[in-house]
Symmetry: C2
């Protein structure tokens, strides 16, 4: 018997709607590798896996790590209970010994990582998982799903925030990505510096401020724009934001100020030639005696169109499609690689695939953000051994999970706020050239030592 | 008290992990519009909303509708229970009257739509929602999230299937999209003609065949490639598929055939200059006496690289990033528009936003796939009234939800199979020009009547 949220009354519901274990959000081969390594006895070899991206998407200057806090919670729920085991058994995915191993599984190893909100560059080992081979390999798919998507959104969002030059930006793209990704996207954008989201579940789950008033359908439903505006003002007061581009913008602005008075909160513009329309609306609002009414624009914006509006009297931006799809790069290209394992004599063996096009560096990494007078100058990655004291820079790995226990500071709304604050702090270390929107080299080079 | 899947033992868990109501997967403005329309009394006006895309992404020739069956289940779970209401109340999102309305909400209207797996073109009204304004508008975000993402994946996947010219294609992109989107992507790709997925939850939830054997880490874990292959063959028999590009491909192929014998199931190649490598491996397998061993390739494939391998002796393809991200177009650009509502005299009023750049056609639509000798020739969209009998074509709207009750045939694994079969059938109606991979006009024009 499974229960929905709310009182447990034994009501049966389709497993799709209540299957909250994250254990099957996994590629089949993670489980078959465990099965086969139980055969060879190698499953228990102590191993180190690392997550990194070979390059930054779109020849950008930096990336933003996001998803870590969310991931730690999903790992906690990565358990094989009877519904999962039953399905694996029925479908002969693995043998009985493996099923027993899975039934007992919870991650008991250690995870280090870049603190959520940290910046990353090509090769940055943003997550390091240490445990037995089996307990590490089984998390591969889930870890990459979360970090690849969330970091793609955060990395794009950070560019929009910087293009907005201090004006607030809100995430409004829930309808342009699958329904649960929408919540993750709102969270990632917030970490990257967005100020709010339209997504209510992101408000509930992660404590992100939510916003939104009305769409064109609301105006179209009423017999006149005036009737619609009046209803909205009655419901939310004159401080509400009215959508003014359903029919004729100047007429709508006139109606808005007439009904709401000088306390009109703001107007939203969702179409048209924005620089011109915005300037005209600003002048009209001032002329009509509503100089404090704000102008929000929301028409298919991305970092480039935001930058193009720098000279326009815009007060805030709402961004949809481009932020939730990583502005052209919806996946960050992160991979999860076995970089070392203990051999039978207790020595760490560095390992890497030997492929012409996909070179990886074998061995465990210890990354440092090398600094000069407060500015980042290199991503210095020490391979094989931890660097000694006296290094000129900031060590980047922090413990996230110790013997299976996640650090509570990084979870929930508090962890999300912490990540946002961390991003705000470390982004100031970047050289000015990092904020160019065009293609370019990473803001700092990666050095392996 | 809330319970996880499994016995209800009263264990408390963070709401993020058990919040299965889909009601907050919603933009805040959907709820504030209900609040304001309760003020004006217009919330109860009978209304029709339609979902359509103004154009096909990437100047493609056709799109594939996916997500519908999944959406119907999510709509069933779109209920405001105490946890949702409490959060809305605490955060003053809407007033008390609106909270009461939400508490009572379940969708009681009607939904028609293109059958899942159907093809669509610019303007195709792929979903039509009829109900009160409030009960229709509140579903906007969820409907668009699901259809935009799932159709983006299915539309890209259909091109890969056609590029593969009958060879099987498997979806392996779970790690390149957020963890729950991965399940939706596997489902959408399957509907579009992929044969299997690596994602286990997609197997459990939607009955999709799952596949996968081992990654490079499995080989790297062992003291030799031979030790790794031997373990895998012991676990899964000689019919397993061995990954042969960790070190040296010809050596690995030699080892594979030596250990598995002529019953070797297959080899997988994940890197390198594929046409050449594949040809060499095929020749080597034949020479070594394993002519039945299959060759699977999985190296960053998309519809173009698949097409480029047509002349190579590939037996099957595994596609990751490109399919789960819509091959460059991760959102389908679908919108949800109020197109008509009843006025106080009981007459249907067609409505549309008047904007220069985003023209919509007011009024309810009745689409027909016009046919000539078994081939589709136009998407004929009758506006305002249902066409009369005797039309030369296939009516495209089918009832999906009648007075709040979804048609069970479209749900679950059975609905997914039905959608896959429908796509396989209707895609044969397309003219040959529809299968060009370059940019072009839609395969058939859209005519409004």
């Amino acid at each position: 018997m499974r229960c929905l949220p709310g009182p447990c009354d034994g009501r049966r519901t389709h497993p799709r709607l209540v299957a909250m274990s994250t254990a099957l959000l996994t590629d089949r081969y993670e489980l078959t590798m465990i099965d086969a390594s139980l055969e060879s006895g190698r499953h228990a070899r102590r191993s180190v896996f690392e997550v990194f991206a070979r390059s930054l998407p779109g020849a950008r200057r930096f990336g933003v790590v996001a998803g870590t806090g969310r991931l730690l919670e999903l790992i906690t729920e990565f358990r094989f209970r009877e519904p999962e085991l039953e399905w694996l058994r029925t479908n002969s995915v693995v043998d009985t010994a493996t099923l027993d191993w899975l039934a007992d599984y919870r991650f008991r190893g250690n995870i280090w990582g870049y603190q959520e909100g940290e910046l990353y560059f090509p090769g940055s080992p943003i997550l390091v998982v240490e445990g037995t081979f089996a307990e590490g390999v089984i998390l591969e798919t889930l870890i990459l799903s979360v970090l690849n998507y969330d970091s793609a959104v955060a990395s794009a969002a950070a560019r929009m925030v910087s293009a907005a030059s201090g004006r607030p930006v809100a995430e409004m793209g829930s309808r342009r990505t699958a329904e649960r990704s929408a919540v993750a996207a709102a969270r990632a954008a917030y970490i990257a510096g967005f100020g709010a989201t339209s997504n209510l579940e992101a408000g509930r789950s992660w404590g992100i401020p939510t916003m939104g008033t009305a769409a064109h359908s609301f105006t179209l439903l009423h017999d006149s724009e005036e009737e619609a505006f009046r209803a909205q003002i009655t419901a939310f007061g004159p401080g509400t934001t009215l959508l003014v581009d359903t029919y004729d913008v100047p007429k709508a602005v006139e109606t808005a100020v007439r009904l709401a008075g000088p306390e009109l909160g703001g107007v939203r513009i969702d179409s048209g030639d924005l620089p011109e329309v915005v300037a005209a609306v600003r002048a009209q609002l001032d002329r009509l005696g509503a100089p404090n009414a704000k102008i929000t624009v929301t028409s298919d914006l991305n970092e480039y169109t935001i930058a193009a509006l720098r000279a326009a009297p815009v007060d805030s931006y709402g961004v949809g499609t481009s932020v939730v799809t990583g502005s052209g790069f919806p996946a960050s290209g992160m991979v999860y690689k076995l970089v070392a394992h203990l051999d039978d004599d207790g020595a760490w063996i560095p390992v890497a695939k030997k492929s012409s096009s996909k070179n990886s560096v074998a061995g465990r990494k210890f990354p440092i953000r090398s600094m000069h007078r407060g500015t980042a100058v290199a991503e210095t990655i020490h391979v094989g051994a931890e660097p000694e004291f006296g290094i000129d820079g900031r060590p980047l790995l922090v413990p996230l999970v110790v013997e299976g226990e996640p650090d509570q500071r990084f979870l929930g709304p508090e962890g999300t706020e912490l990540a946002r604050a961390h991003r705000a702090s470390v982004i100031q270390e970047l050289p000015v050239s990092a904020f160019g929107l065009g293609e370019g080299d990473p803001a700092i080079p990666t050095h392996y030592v």
